[in-house]
Amino acid sequence: MVSIPALPRRYHKASIWALYVIGLCPAVWDFYLAYSGALGFNPVKEFEHLLGTWALRFIIATLAITPIRDLFGINWMRYRRALGLIAFYYVLMHVAVYVSLDLRFDFGAVWSDIVKRWYITIGMACLLLLIPLAVTSNNWSIRKLSGAWNKLHKLIYLIAIGGVIHYILSVKSVTLVPSTYIALIVLLVAYRAVRRPILDWKRGKTKMAQATR
């Protein structure tokens, strides 16, 4: 089993805040690049796409927390909420840039995109589904909703799949990079289906090891 030095408990809280700061750095940096003309000749599209890609990356990171704990014994569960919320903030920024800088607040165009373009329809649906998850991402909601909270937050699997479909439908051809995102998300969502048997098998192995000791 992999072992990495455990972070002392007193730094846990600070490390979570550091994650928020680090996680939002790409947005600031990309904004600076776009503003200063370093993103080439179509800065709005480029910036919009970078924000969307970061949202996908943080969704992938959020989904990776459980398998990393199950399979490698590394418990990063304390970072999962921050990762999920950062993903949500990127989705919000992505949509804000699309509505403001790209479509110039032409809400007619936004609406016709939503009803006519499948990838926008799916993208907007994902945004709507993310809102209840973001709103309930706090200890109070977890206590209040108890079992229902777990059920509600399973929506992230649907959102992840919707997000990657939104992404691949927006590119002209599915090349190496989009395929990598598809593969990662499919893998991480599919893992949930085989998680129980894997955990049972691992538990069985530990018991056996204890029994033969």
Partner: protein, 314 residues
């Protein structure tokens, strides 16, 4: 007889040319002084002698740097900056174009001879199917003039084009994950190919084409989406059946044979009603403009499609 007469304009109206003429003198002087001051892609750029063409565009030209560093050329990679970044090893000379099929005089014509064709300045709009556009001062000659030389047979109805395949020089053509099947192929109906607007371009902004833009010779069909204007051409064939084309083969529902610019016919996944003019507006300025039927060349080309359902023949 084509019922089309090019608009008459005086040479003095073509001011941009003077600007780049002076730049050309500067380039020549720089080259003479042995100054290697340009980037890799431009290292072989040579000035071309041209005459003003019959087509003028009352629009601001897209800056040269935008034209040469923001484009699609999947043979060099799928991102907009890839063609400029990855085309340094491409060798556009020596070069020849094979012209065959239903012609009286099949031939293989060298680049030297292609450059002897009457070269004209042609500033055209370029509309990409992805929703962005440019105004580009091409240097080229009428495709029809070249076709005359090979004497197409009466049976020829279409013209097909083929891009070079050189995996060693074109990184997008090697590796286990390639965006498209090679060679890239395109096609036009013979009357489209014969239209006076259709040119084979050998340069832009008064100099030979950068590798990223399809050196040494490419097609420019300004009323069609950019992907129809095939780059780095090695073969032109006259045929009697509608030729296969790369993007149609890859996704026939989204990309048709005609691919005329048409704001009324949306791409299945996005609107074609507006376009983003590259190099204008910046990050906060508005740079969307309405897309024009046939990319603004309806007056010249709409008659080619009389009686055709443009929604069905997208």
């Amino acid at each position: 007889m084509p019922a089309y007469r090019p608009p008459r304009i005086s040479a003095s109206e073509i001011t941009p040319r003077e600007i780049y003429m002076s730049r050309r003198h500067f380039m020549g002087a720089a080259a003479a002084a042995g100054l290697a001051m340009t980037g890799v892609g431009e290292a072989f750029a040579a000035p071309l002698t041209t005459t003003p063409g019959a087509y003028k565009l009352d629009e601001k030209l897209t800056p040269k740097e935008a034209v040469t560093t923001y484009n699609n050329f999947y043979e060099f990679g799928v991102n907009k900056e890839d063609p400029a970044a990855n085309s340094g090893d491409f060798k556009p000379t020596p070069w020849s174009v094979k012209i065959d099929g239903m012609v009286g005089k099949p031939t293989e014509i060298g680049l030297e001879d292609l450059l002897k064709m009457p070269l004209e300045d042609r500033t055209y709009r370029m509309r990409c199917v992805e929703g962005w556009s440019m105004a580009i001062p091409w240097v080229g000659f009428s495709l029809s003039a070249l076709l005359d030389k090979v004497e197409p047979l009466g049976s020829a109805k279409y013209v097909s084009f083929e891009t070079v395949v050189r995996p060693e020089e074109m990184p997008g053509q090697k590796g286990f994950f390639q965006a498209l099947p090679w060679p890239y192929i395109e096609g036009l109906r013979l009357d489209e190919a014969r239209h006076p607007l259709t040119i084979l371009a050998v340069g832009l902004y008064g100099e030979t084409l950068p590798n990223a833009n399809g050196a040494p010779i490419r097609l420019v069909v300004p009323w069609k989406y950019g992907f129809k204007s095939i780059k780095s051409i090695v073969r032109i064939s006259l045929v009697d059946k509608q030729p296969q084309t790369t993007w149609k083969n890859s996704n026939a529902r989204e990309y048709g044979f005609y691919s005329n610019v048409n704001p009324a016919v949306d791409h299945p996944r996005w609107s074609q009603a507006t376009e983003q003019r590259i190099g204008e507006g910046g990050f906060f300025g508005s740079n969307r403009r309405p897309t024009l039927p046939f990319n603004g060349y309806a007056e010249q080309v709409a008659s080619l499609y009389n009686g055709m359902d443009l929604k069905a023949n997208y």
